[in-house]
């Protein structure tokens, strides 16, 4: 028997750490989703699919900019010393993923705006007619568009990875100290974005493509989760205990049922049947994938805070 008693009962820290509540996982989810969208949109730009009038690369950056801003709002809401928020941008801390993230996000906006400039939304043109000219000019430079695609993909990839590295760099939480967490969040972001495109795409080709791609992402995600768990189970006793928090501990039901079952396996089966034309495409599967991605962030953040060294 191993009894620990402590006199400490600090708010947010005891008895189990819960300093981050809903804002951070939501922010990480939105960041991941935006990352996926940028990768997809950037890929379409790179591939020249923008020539198709109803290419999703025309509306994905709009969604991205809204969702990213929402995510940053949530991040801001989580800050305890809000009046000093600007301190993020008076320094660059090379060892701090959060500092990296803050600066990367600053770069993401121009990249998204470049993408948006290809076809500026009507209400905006009505207000600032000059934007139309700018947009037309931009479309005349295919190479510039290719570069914009690449930039969007690179930054998207960085944002996606960053959301995972942010957690795994905090060594005190054994569940997060996995070498594949960045990959998990990146793939999950991609699958969420793919599901999103699948859900709203006007272009049938893109919908089919993304449904197929999403199936691939979901399979990879399953594989990465398996790697993460196996990695933890074969590490120190603290890491093993962390894995067990997901497998059989307090977060087991949400992990097995919502993350794996309803978030990955079942939508995967539905979409496999759909792309093989056994059933009609249904919005149910992509919605499940997107919600699954959200729940994954919640589970990983909460269970990670629950895990500790001993």
């Amino acid at each position: 028997m191993y009894e620990i008693t402590t006199t400490r009962h600090n708010h947010l820290v005891d008895s189990t750490l819960h300093a981050w509540s809903w804002q951070i996982p939501t922010y990480l989810f939105l960041g991941g989703l935006v990352a996926g969208m940028m990768l997809i949109s950037g890929y379409f730009l790179f591939k020249g699919r923008y020539k198709e009038n109803n290419c999703s690369c025309y509306y994905l950056p709009l969604f991205s900019i809204v969702l990213l801003s929402l995510g940053m709002l949530f991040l801001f809401l989580d800050l305890e010393h809000k009046a000093y928020f600007w301190r993020l941008y008076t320094t660059f801390q090379i060892t701090s993923p959060m500092s990296w993230g803050a600066w990367i996000l600053i770069l993401v906006y121009p990249a998204l705006i470049l993408n948006i400039l290809m076809r500026v939304p009507k209400p905006l043109i009505n207000k600032i007619p000059k934007l139309k000219n700018l947009s037309d000019e931009f479309l005349k430079h295919p190479f510039g568009i290719k570069i914009t695609g690449i930039i969007n993909m690179i930054l998207g990839g960085m944002v996606g990875m960053y959301t995972g590295i942010l957690l795994s760099s905090l060594g005190a939480r054994p569940l997060w100290s996995s070498a594949v967490l960045w990959l998990l969040f990146l793939v999950s972001g991609l699958s969420g974005a793919a599901a999103f495109v699948h859900l709203i795409a006007k272009n049938v080709y893109e919908r089919e493509l993304l449904a197929k791609a999403d199936n691939g992402f979901l399979v990879i995600e399953l594989f990465v989760i398996a790697m993460l768990i196996i990695g933890l189970l074969t590490s120190s006793k603290s890491h093993m205990a962390a894995a067990l928090i997901l497998l059989s501990g307090p977060f087991a039901s949400s992990f097995w049922v919502f993350v794996l079952g309803l978030g990955i396996v079942i939508p995967l089966i539905i979409q496999l049947l759909a792309v093989n034309h056994k059933i009609h495409h249904t919005p149910v599967a992509p919605i499940m994938v997107i919600l699954g991605g959200l729940i994954l962030r919640f589970v990983i953040v909460a269970a990670g805070q629950y895990s500790h060294w001993f």
Partner: protein, 736 residues
């Protein structure tokens, strides 16, 4: 021979005979920073350091309070203080929280509705005194002045004691005796003609072997003892702890003996037998200083380790080994006499066994044993003599308990109030003791209170007893008032001062002021001839060749050093009938008690019940400190310690809440379970003082469970009337 009224008590209260003219005023009243600010209109800047002695427990360490920009900041130990050696305990450090406690009493209150309903009318001090005086006068007229009783704990009660003696009653009692150390001191008085005292005369610092019987030093945070214990641990002293619970001290022990509760006397008698039969005792010492060795030898021969094994649960080998361990360190071995010793009703006899074993190992007067103590002699104030009461004390009529009552007999006073015998008690003053949490069987106390015409409670917080009072007088906390000088018996005689550090935040007043004001309403002014407390203190100090100005600056003044042990030239005298340490007690024989202790078996808990044990936590004092937010921060509720196997059987985990139900069906507040490998399976343990049910104690209300609530049964020690309280059994109620 008068028991327990030995010279040390006489010495302190002796010089109260001759009246002299009051001295002229001795300096202005020291005002706290706040008042000074109001007066001068200037903000007080910087740091002031003011020495004073602590009141967070009754060890009374000297401290230095820091006031920063007019606000109380922190309190540290006074390096000159022989008790604290410059280091306070958490309560002393947390004394800051007593001043800032938001739940403090703020103004005098007079009861509006039924007793216990906690409904009050706020009154002026004059109205409060007027009310009390008229009631007291009526009681005096109808029943005589002896019909007022006084329960007091702490040095601040002294001025009220003085007032009530002047009024004409001697029915004064303190729970510190019958609910605490009474049996121990009675036993040592009987055996050695002298008490262990408090601060205890134990030389833990120099002991090479220390035996603790249920003494949870470290949890019982009596500062000097803890400091010395830590030194002993560091030195590698051999420590033997006998306790059903693995206390903090037990975790430091070389030998931990998890004894079955209620069988300590069996182990002691067996050890005594081993020391004698194996010729291990200090022969020269015993020959020179003791009386009745042969009788003792004959009496204890039946207590063999093999006999003790099924009784105590301690294996014979371990009993022998530990007896040898004690003997190995003669003459620097110490069997600590303990302090809180009201356990099973035969406690004085257990105390006797402790006294006897200490005699066999020759610890009295030895380095690392029980040292000599003396006092810094400061004559009492020359008051006029008190009126002689017409009737004997009501608390122990006809000396029912022949060895009881030096500090008064609390439950006896309660009994007299309940029964009206030997005569009615119609008024109570209660100072600084939460009677509902200090006396066993709360129900009896509440019933007794219903017979009263007047209940006055003087306290700093709205304790449960205050809830039943007719008049509540809010006292300034120790940091805001002057008090009596402190000059205890100790190995280094000294005198220390309590003086105001800050002003009371509201309309609280010091006890001395209340007593003096009330004396005027009662026409007893002649007993308070001094103009103010400074004058009183200065008079006393001057008569000892000191001055108030000097002690105000230093906080502590030490007396000359004294020889502490035989090695230093101390020659012990034993004020017993034989003039020796009475292994065989002639006075006990005379009164018809066992002259040598005999083991008596105590009732085991019935199936499904566990013996309720209680004790202390280092950061709290009794039920007085739970609303102190600094101390609440380190312990805000108590837990019930349950053996891990037992807890498992009941499906309980640490952190679950349950209620405890005692043998009489009394249910506790809900209390958190601590499932632990640090207690036996036949008992449970909680820290005393929690589970407050006074709604006015907002910071402590219903946090944890109260042992006092569950102690409906108690067993009276026939020698001195102490109330053995470890005789209650509880079971678990899962519904909370």
């Amino acid at each position: 021979m008068t028991y327990l009224s030995r010279r040390r008590f006489l010495k302190i209260s002796g010089a109260s005979i001759i009246a002299t003219a009051a001295l002229s005023s001795a300096g202005g009243v020291v005002k706290g920073a706040k008042k000074l600010e109001e007066k001068t209109g200037k903000k007080i800047k910087g740091i002031q350091k003011i020495p004073t002695y602590c009141s967070m427990c009754f060890w009374k360490c000297s401290a230095i309070a820091y006031v920063k920009n007019g606000e109380l900041w922190k309190i540290v130990g006074n390096p000159e203080d022989p008790l604290s050696n410059g280091r306070l305990c958490p309560r002393g450090t947390g004394g800051v929280g007593a001043h800032y406690d938001p739940d403090r009493l703020k103004a005098p209150l007079i009861r509006k509705n039924e007793r216990g309903e906690e409904k009050w009318v706020q009154v002026t001090w004059d109205e409060a005194f007027e009310y009390i005086a008229s009631k007291m006068n009526k009681i005096k007229k109808d029943y005589g002045p002896e019909s007022i009783g006084f329960f007091s704990h702490g040095i601040g009660g002294g001025f009220f004691k003085h007032l009530l003696k002047a009024y004409g009653t001697r029915n004064i009692a303190a729970p510190s005796f019958d609910q605490c150390l009474g049996p121990r001191d009675t036993a040592f008085e009987i055996t050695y003609g002298d008490v262990i005292g408090g601060p205890e005369r134990t030389d833990i610092e120099n002991a090479k072997c220390i035996v603790l019987f249920g003494s949870h030093i470290g949890e019982n945070m009596h500062n000097t003892q803890v400091q010395e214990f830590a030194k002993a641990v560091e030195r590698g002293a051999s420590i033997i702890v006998v306790d059903p619970r693995m206390s903090t001290a037990a975790t430091k022990a070389k030998y931990y003996l998890p004894i079955k509760p209620g069988t300590d006397l069996a182990l002691l008698l067996t050890w005594i037998n081993i020391l004698i039969s194996e010729d291990l005792y200090d022969k020269d010492y015993v020959k020179k200083y003791t009386f009745g060795f042969e009788q003792l030898k004959a009496e204890v021969s039946k207590y063999t380790p093999e006999w003790a094994y099924p009784v105590t649960g301690i294996e014979p080998e371990l009993i022998r080994k530990t007896a040898h361990e004690i003997a190995r360190f003669i003459p620097s071995a110490l069997v600590h006499p303990g302090r809180h010793s009201v356990w099973y009703g035969d406690d004085t006899q257990r105390g006797r066994a402790l006294a006897i074993i200490n005699a066999l190992i020759g610890s009295w007067g030895r380095k690392g044993g029980l040292t000599n103590q003396d006092v810094f002699d400061i004559p009492s104030y020359p008051y006029p003599p008190y009126p002689e009461p017409k009737r004997q004390r009501a608390d122990n009529p006809d000396k029912k308990y022949p060895f009881g009552g030096a500090e008064g007999y609390t439950t006896g006073l309660r009994e007299a109030t309940l029964t009206g015998k030997p005569y009615p008690i119609k008024g109570w003053f209660v100072y600084g003791t939460n009677l509902l949490y200090s006396l066993p069987n709360t129900e009896e106390t509440i019933k007794a209170i219903q017979n009263l015409d007047l209940l006055v409670v003087i306290d700093v917080i709205p304790s449960e007893i205050a809830g039943y009072a007719d008049v509540v007088l809010p006292e300034a906390v120790y940091l805001e008032r002057y008090d009596e000088l402190f000059a205890p018996y100790f190995k280094q005689p000294f005198v220390s001062i309590r003086q105001p550090v800050v002003d009371p935040p509201n309309d609280q007043k010091p006890g001395w002021w209340m007593a003096k004001q009330l004396s005027e309403k009662l026409g007893l002014q002649k007993y308070f001839p001094w103009k103010n407390i400074e004058e009183y203190l200065d008079t006393r100090l001057k008569s000892a060749g000191l001055s108030l100005a000097e002690i105000k600056k230093k906080g502590v003044i030490k007396g000359p050093e004294i020889p502490l042990n035989l090695e230093e030239g101390f020659e012990p005298e034993f004020e017993t009938p034989t003039g020796k340490i009475e292994l065989y007690s002639t006075v006990l024989a005379e009164k018809g008690f066992d002259p040598i202790p005999k083991f008596t078996k105590h009732k085991d808990p019935p199936a499904g019940y566990f013996r309720l044990l209680f004790g202390r936590a280092p950061m709290h004092s009794f039920s007085r400190t739970q609303t102190n937010r600094l101390l609440d921060n380190v312990m805000n509720e108590n837990e019930v310690w349950i053996n891990a196997d037992v807890a498992k059987k009941y499906g309980l985990n640490s952190g679950d809440y349950i209620k405890l139900k005692n043998q009489d069906g009394v249910l506790s507040n809900k209390v958190k379970v601590k499932s632990t490998e640090r207690i036996r399976t036949d008992c449970v343990y909680i820290v005393h003082g929690f589970g407050h049910n006074s709604r006015m104690l907002k910071g402590a209300y219903l946090k944890g469970a109260s042992d006092s609530q569950l102690i409906t049964k108690y067993k009276i020690d026939p020698l001195m009337g102490g109330t053995g309280m470890n005789v209650n059994f509880v079971t678990f109620e899962m519904e909370v």
